[in-house]
């Protein structure tokens, strides 16, 4: 069936970055990013775009196969703690919509689907901790990822976050989350993207959100920018200006 036809393909303004190139140069790129910030008072950094992916008519098989095979594994991200090996147990899926067989299903032990234990909602915990820290409560060590996520852009250590800000952080998170599409394949990867968003006092997103830390997967980064753009207007921030948003597919990374 296939191959009996010729297909002509023309590409227009495709904005996808070529993925593998980023893997190869990722380390250098990160340093270059830092250097760019050092050298320019007003960082002119923006997401490089415009690499056009070209598919050719009757391209060699290897070319068409290379795409998925070479695809998209960020270079060994730090592995999360290995989930426990799950014992084989009978797991009952929801019966097919068409014709459920109640009898058969009833026989099976309804053990909940074996997935890694739900992780804590880190940022909720963090917001709460910070609020508490403002009231001079002892501040336990924050989860490593949260410190990493805040990175150089996070709140400097020892600076308390007011309850007003903490509440907004949470509201903003919930608002943006609703507009963020994360395809299932991305959920199992340790991806982290940071974008700087310029917000008006009423919460409108001004200009294009700026990716300041890439995940290594350009489609994930694009999805993050898309989520921010779609979220405009956000809940009104405590003050207008630039805010950093850290995006993680799961709480546990």
């Amino acid at each position: 069936m296939t191959g009996t036809h010729e297909i002509t393909i023309e590409l227009g303004g495709l904005r996808r970055q070529e993925f593998r190139r980023f893997l190869v140069v990722s380390a250098v790129a990160h340093l270059a990013l830092v250097a760019a910030f050092v050298l320019t008072p007003e960082p002119g950094f923006r997401v490089p775009r415009g690499v056009v992916s070209v598919e050719l008519v009757g391209a060699p098989v290897s070319a068409s196969l290379a795409a998925p095979a070479a695809a998209p594994r960020p270079k060994a991200p730090p592995k999360p703690a290995p989930p426990p090996i799950i014992k084989p147990k009978k797991v009952v899926l929801p019966a097919e919509p068409t014709t459920p067989k109640p009898k058969a299903v009833a026989k099976a032990a309804p053990v909940p689907k074996a997935t890694p234990a739900p992780a804590k909602d880190y940022e909720d915990v963090l917001a709460q901790l910070r609020a508490e820290a403002g009231e001079s409560a002892p501040s336990p060590a924050a989860p490593a990822i949260t410190r990493a996520a805040a990175g150089p852009m996070g709140s400097p250590d020892g600076v308390a976050i007011s309850p007003v800000v903490a509440a907004w952080l949470k509201r903003a998170k919930i608002h943006v989350r609703k507009n963020w599409v994360v395809p299932p394949g991305f959920r199992t990867q340790a991806l982290q993207t940071v974008v700087q968003v310029n917000l008006s006092s009423s919460g409108e997103v001004r200009g294009t959100p700026k990716v300041t830390q890439r995940s290594g997967n350009p489609w994930y980064d694009e999805g993050v920018v898309r989520a921010v753009q779609k979220s405009s207007p956000l809940p009104a921030p405590p003050e207008a200006g630039a805010w950093n948003f850290v995006f993680l597919p799961e709480d546990s990374y």
Binding site: P68, A69, A150, G154
Partner: protein
């Protein structure tokens, strides 16, 4: 490139100072777990004289099949439901589409040009109101237009996720709908089921060549002995393969990722052993050396390792070895009967069937054995997992409706879909590669 710690600290400090100071002073909003798993699509009917509704619904079906897209009912459109024209104008009213909740907007035209279908389309990423993709396909009008529709849908999947969709791919499987087991082929959604063999013998274990040109299978069609044959789908010479090795019974052949070699199961002296060989029969190399059963090879996507099943420890279990038969080690330890390993094209998982009680469920284990979890379970048997080329879906055969049928499920365990409904057993699915 190495930087000393003190320099690193200085750079970091400079970075903090130089970046927009206000953002650096503020805590970050940490967003986790996007609550949407699929994009919402506003898809216009393509302008043209052909069956616009049929073409639109074919694109829609293929997008929905990906489990990554949801359609917005055209009745909700504020803008036109049919693309008025595909002129050079490169602006649309994005607000008309974002207002109804769309993430992307697809417009296009379908027409006949001489003896060809020509489909032209544009995809808009509405969040930034930017044109994301623009393509034109041409195809002989004797072929089914839905082929173009599926191509378009797979392109859209790729534009938004980085990995091409698989609506255009095909599956081979074994069907007894005519009485004896024959090799069949169908579309990834179960459409267009047709026989690839019709020899009234026993045919089993289809495996695609990486280029998709041929399917190797085991048949008893000659002398009532198991031998390897190729079905070439009109693109080469069909018939015997590895004929010079036929002194041994030939049980199963599986193409390696490079088209240059196969892993085969043959029986030199009563026990099944694994070999590696070129398609022309040269460079035969025996990989397992014992009196036990070693079967069901599945290549890692880089071709460096092979997963297989052996009963050397007393019960059938999944093992791994390198391509030369060295470094054999056991992968599965839970359960007393684990077979049919299938390595995902992205290398991340090995799917296999595990006997639980009196039936099989499909499980996923990662190649270092640290994560092992059930994909799907049912009181009836689910067997013979096969990965889609994008590693997002798994086909398998199941007796959950009586006789065995082929089903597809997302690798997350969601969106179970039945592909075959024949009276005879449909088993041994093999998912073909992306079409050219």
């Amino acid at each position: 490139m190495r930087i000393r710690a003190s320099h690193r600290a200085a750079l970091l400090f400079a970075f903090v100072v130089a970046s927009a100071a206000s953002a650096a002073d503020r805590p970050a909003v940490v967003v986790t777990r996007g609550s949407e798993q699929s994009f919402r699509v506003a898809l216009q009917r393509f302008d043209g004289t052909l069956d616009a509704d049929g073409f639109r619904s074919a694109i829609e079906d293929a997008l929905v099949y990906s489990s990554l897209f949801r359609m917005i009912d055209p009745k909700a459109f504020l803008g036109p439901t049919t693309t008025p024209s595909m002129g050079v104008s490169s602006r649309i009213e994005c607000s008309e589409w974002t207002t109804i909740g769309a993430d992307l907007f697809v417009e296009g035209a379908l027409r006949i040009d001489q003896a060809d279908f020509v489909a032209e389309f544009r995809v808009w990423d509405l969040a930034g109101c930017e044109r994301k993709l623009s393509k034109r396909y041409r195809q002989a009008s004797t072929a089914e237009p839905n082929i173009l529709a599926r191509r378009i849908a797979d392109d859209i999947v790729e534009a938004f996720t980085g990995t091409r969709g698989v609506a255009s791919t095909e599956l081979a499987f074994v069907s007894k709908r005519g009485g004896n087991p024959e090799i069949f082929v169908m579309g990834a959604d179960g459409s267009n089921q047709r026989a690839a063999t019709a020899n009234r013998s026993i045919n089993n274990f289809p495996s695609w060549s990486p280029g998709g040109d041929s399917i190797v299978y085991t048949s008893y069609r000659r002398d009532n002995r198991p031998m390897f044959f190729l079905s070439t789908r009109g693109r080469g010479k069909p018939g015997r393969i590895l004929g010079k090795l036929s002194a041994m019974p030939q049980y199963r052949a599986v193409f390696g990722p490079g088209n240059e070699e196969l892993s085969v199961v043959m029986s030199p002296n009563g026990s099944a052993e694994l070999y590696r060989v070129r398609p022309d029969g040269s460079d035969l190399r025996r990989l397992t050396q014992n009196g036990q059963i070693d079967i069901s090879p599945s290549w890692s996507p880089d071709g460096r390792q092979i997963a297989f099943v052996s009963d050397r420890a007393g019960s059938p279990q999944v093992y791994l070895m390198d391509r030369n038969g060295h470094g054999v080690h056991r992968l599965t330890f839970d359960g007393s009967y684990n077979t049919s390993p299938a390595w995902s094209p992205d290398g991340r998982w090995i799917a296999y069937q595990s006997r639980v009680g009196g039936q099989f469920d499909i499980w996923l284990i990662d190649p270092d054995g640290s994560v092992n979890l059930p994909l799907i379970s049912h009181p009836r048997s689910d067997e013979s997992p096969a990965w889609s080329p994008d590693s997002r879906k798994i086909a398998f055969s199941s007796t959950r409706r009586g006789s065995a049928d082929i089903y597809v499920v997302d690798s997350s365990g969601d969106h179970l879909q039945r592909l075959t409904r024949s009276a005879g057993d449909d088993t041994s699915p093999a998912w073909g590669p992306y079409p050219r």
